[in-house]
């Protein structure tokens, strides 16, 4: 229904602002209707302003800033509507150490309500995980899976 959608949008927008501020340690962000006159069909647009920077076209953000902004949006959706599990494939590839740590802290905060399965090449991500699996291909095209212990 239209009211339900607008209410959801309003709440997700609030969460988006909060999560963005957490991940960027400040700054402003929002998500709103591209066409407020036509809420039933309108798409959504995102704006983001890292702390101290100016609002500008999203395309001017850096690779890592775009990644972090996108993750903020997804985590805002999770805050509005918690999901039982979440599967992430190398979403941390573009993040520097500091941003990676903030993203991982966010994941840890909600891991009791959401089961995370994350594919990664990052050592820090491996360190915060509760369980670790490793894949190898001793023979071409055939995966061998190992359970690994964190030391």
């Amino acid at each position: 229904s239209k009211d339900q959608f607008l209410k959801a949008l309003d709440e997700v927008n609030k969460h988006f602002q909060e999560v963005f501020s957490l991940l960027f340690q400040g700054g402003k962000a929002d998500v709103k209707l591209t066409d407020p006159q036509n809420p039933l069909e309108s798409g959504l647009e995102i704006t983001a302003q890292p702390p101290g920077k100016k609002v500008q076209n999203l395309s001017l953000l850096s690779g890592g800033e775009k990644c972090l902004t996108s993750l903020a949006f997804f985590f805002a959706l999770f805050r509005y509507r918690p999901i039982p599990f979440c599967i992430l494939d190398e979403v941390d590839a573009a993040l520097d150490e500091t941003n990676l740590t903030r993203f991982l802290n966010l994941m840890k905060q909600i891991k009791n309500q959401t089961q995370f399965i994350i594919i990664t090449h990052n050592f820090k991500t491996m360190e915060v995980s509760d369980y670790l699996y490793g894949t190898t291909m001793p023979e071409p095209n055939i995966t061998q899976l190992y359970s690994m212990k964190l030391s």
């Binding site: 039982p84 599990f85 992430l88 494939d89 399965i117 594919i119 990664t120 995980s129 699996y133 899976l145």
Partner: protein
């Protein structure tokens, strides 16, 4: 609700029957390039049967079934089973496909249509996989996706 196990057999690079146990919290999967990590993600998408199945790399049965290597022959069937637990109740989803293209879904052992799987998951709070699987490479393009696509994610959550 949590994921307890994923059994993969004959699906992509899993020629051997592979059982993956899952626990609450964070599970990380690591390994060299091309060794099958994203194939595990594909197996999840394939069993949860949602809209994302269109984006499954090579979702046609000849690409989804183990097609051998230069020394081993292809298999003729792919099978993925997902074990879920919700409030002490266990649920099993199953998706199988044959080289002929014939396939079937099962819910707790009973043959069902894809529609029934989706309905079951929806009742359990699992939407049409629009926003709880983020595939490799997709976070990069998200901000430049069409406004209607962003709307679809919010609608899924709303």
């Amino acid at each position: 609700m949590i994921i307890k196990k994923l059994d993969i057999h004959g699906f992509k690079s899993f020629s051997e029957k592979t059982r993956i146990l899952f626990h609450p919290g964070i599970t990380a999967i690591v390994g060299p390039n091309g060794t099958g990590k994203s194939n595990i993600v594909d197996a999840f998408i394939w069993i949860l049967g949602g809209k994302k199945i269109k984006s499954l790399r090579g979702e046609r049965s000849e690409n989804v079934i183990f097609n051998g290597n230069t020394h081993r022959t292809p298999l003729s069937m792919a099978d993925v089973a997902l074990y879920l637990e919700d409030n002490d109740e266990e649920f099993t989803l199953n998706h199988r496909v044959y080289r002929s293209g014939e396939g079937e879904y099962r819910l707790n052992g009973k043959a069902v249509r894809l529609k029934d799987i989706q309905e079951f998951l929806w009742k359990k709070g699992v939407g049409e996989k629009e926003y709880f699987v983020i595939e490799q490479g997709s976070i990069e393009g998200f901000l430049s996706s069409k406004p209607v696509e962003k709307r679809a994610l919010l609608e899924d959550a709303a």
